[in-house]
């Protein structure tokens, strides 16, 4: 059984649909990428899966259970954690408080989990009492992901985790994501426009204008001339 199955999902904002009949699946422990240009609906896809936005039609199954009428709170308790691209931390809370909120539903062992994520992101260790809004871009991103890890998710939804980061930080972040997947064994659904991020995955989908155009192993997708030129243009030089 897959950990996540999206079947024919149609969704949007108000009267405007953004996703049209999207289908994909992820196995336990797999890292899957959804790539595509700006505006293709990648963020919307993650929004719907996490419960922040309602789907209009279609089905989403998490470990066989339908997510369609579940609230974001219920979904996160099932083990599905979402890290948005923007507005992904609590700026007026301290770093520690951000992590604590990430573990809001966790009854015991919150301190241990904080230690765990600090082992992955050591930079956070020294900044526990700092206000999150004062962190640098890179530190924020790390905090955002760390917050998402606090519930020990079985599926992690990452929306452009390296967006806006300086090149050296990009590499670090990607390593961290790989480290997380290895250590915790969780599946990852990674949404990105950049080749580097996409390379983390074994398998990928190409989303364009709200529809899945291609599905294949990542290397095959990236080797595909058409896809490279059309969607990754300047990056491939």
């Amino acid at each position: 059984m897959s950990i996540l199955q999206v079947k024919d999902l149609t969704a949007g904002y108000g009267v405007q649909d953004v996703l049209f009949g999207v289908s994909l699946s992820i196995d336990f422990g797999e890292i899957v990428a959804v790539m595509g240009p700006n505006g293709s609906g990648k963020s919307t896809l993650l929004r719907v899966i996490s419960g922040a936005l309602s789907g209009r039609q279609g089905e989403i199954l998490y470990k066989g259970q339908s997510l369609l009428n579940s609230s974001p709170q219920q979904i996160v308790q099932m083990g599905l954690s979402w890290v948005p691209q923007e507005e992904n931390i609590f700026p007026s809370l301290t770093v520690r408080e951000n992590l604590e909120i990430g573990a809001h539903r966790v009854k015991k062992g919150v301190e241990d989990r904080i230690d765990e994520v600090c082992a992955i992101f050591p930079q956070l260790r020294d900044r526990m009492t700092q206000t999150a809004g004062d962190l640098s871009g890179g530190q924020r991103q790390m905090l955002a992901v760390a917050r998402g890890l606090m519930i020990h998710p079985e599926l992690l939804l990452l929306d452009e985790p390296t967006a806006g980061l300086a090149p050296n930080l990009v590499q670090i972040m990607l390593e961290k994501i790989r480290e997380i997947a290895t250590r915790m064994g969780n599946a990852v659904l990674l949404v990105s426009q950049t080749i580097d991020s996409v390379r983390l995955s074994n398998r990928g989908y190409l989303l364009s204008a709200g529809r899945i155009r291609y599905e294949d192993r990542t290397e095959a997708l990236l080797a595909n001339r058409e896809i490279k030129d059309l969607y990754f243009g300047a990056q491939t030089k």
Binding site: Y13, G14, V15, S54
Partner: protein, 312 residues
């Protein structure tokens, strides 16, 4: 009996004019103004001071003809609104409402306390009533109804024309999508200011009509409930954004109001004294129910319904 009815109609017409003014500010421009009574008061007192007979107690008594009184009642609130628009229109939504409420409260208190200007709580009497000498005093309501009714029709026509004019279309554009409208080069502030000023002038005229009808003005007449919030109720019930709707709302709400007067004769004395508060209770309840069940009001343009309920 007929006199009661024509008196009801006159006041309903005056409130309908107020409601049309509020509709311009709120329905078409999205200004949530909880201080409209300020302009109503300004118009009323301006008229009183301009046209009243001289008195040692207070300013005014210039004895000017009624027509100048009405003109003054339009211009002074307009000027006040114009001056206020510079600071006040920087605010939106709740803060704007509070700011205008503060203005109204201040004005109300000033009128009550500055006796040298307004004769304070004793009010100003002897305001000329047009045609009063010419007609049977008992039947005055009928004759004033001609004036009030014409004023209402004129205002309604003006508002209909304004709303459908290019100017009105820009206003609606601002209300629906301000960003987009500003991108097309329109000076948003100017349009909102014009709407605010025009609306205030209309309310000033309503105030003027009121005092020329009753021949008397005092601060008690302009409580926040009677000068501002009853008009809001009329607009909410009648239909935000619909000129015909708010006029209907005015007549309906005022009918309920006057109707409750009849009830005071039917109920025991202990309840009769509470009538004022029971009315307040009913106003509150009707407002709550209206927004719960039909926030767009009875007659409303479909255009605005979409904004009242956000799509999830």
């Amino acid at each position: 009996m007929l006199n009661y009815f024509s008196s009801y109609l006159v006041i309903a017409c005056i409130y309908a004019i107020m409601a049309l003014g509020l509709n311009l500010q709120w329905g078409f421009t999205g200004l949530m103004n909880f201080g409209i009574g300020a302009f109503y008061m300004l118009g009323a007192y301006t008229s009183a001071i301009f046209t009243g007979s001289p008195s040692p107690d207070h300013l005014g008594g210039f004895g000017l003809p009624v027509i100048l009184g009405i003109l003054g009642a339009a211009l002074l609130p307009g000027l006040a609104a114009w001056l206020l628009s510079f600071p006040a229109l920087k605010l939106r939504g709740g803060p704007f409402a509070i700011a205008l409420l503060a203005i109204m409260e201040t004005l109300h208190l000033v009128i009550r306390n500055e006796s040298w200007l307004t004769n304070g709580v004793w009010g100003i009497r002897g305001i000329p009533r047009p045609l009063f000498e010419l007609v049977n005093p008992r039947a005055y309501s009928f004759y004033f109804l001609i004036i009030a009714g014409s004023a209402l029709i004129l205002t309604w026509l003006a508002m209909q024309w304004a709303v459908n004019s290019p100017w009105g279309r820009v206003l609606r554009g601002i209300r629906e999508d301000e960003y987009l409208t500003s991108m097309s080069g329109k000076n948003i502030f100017r349009y909102r200011q014009q709407s605010f000023v025009l609306s205030s002038m209309i309310m000033g005229v309503a105030g003027s009509l009121y005092v020329h009808y009753t021949g008397f003005v005092s601060p008690q007449v302009f409580s926040p409930l009677m000068s501002t919030f009853i008009v809001w109720l009329m607009v909410m019930v009648g239909g935000t954004g619909s000129n015909s709707g708010v006029v209907l709302g005015a007549f309906l709400v005022w009918a309920v109001w006057v109707g409750s007067d009849f009830l005071t004769d039917l109920v025991p004395a202990s309840i009769a004294t509470q009538i004022g508060f029971i009315r307040m209770l009913v106003v509150g309840a009707i407002l709550m129910v209206t927004i719960l069940t039909r926030p767009q009001g009875l007659l409303s343009r479909r255009l605005f319904t979409a904004e009242i309920r956000e799509k999830r």
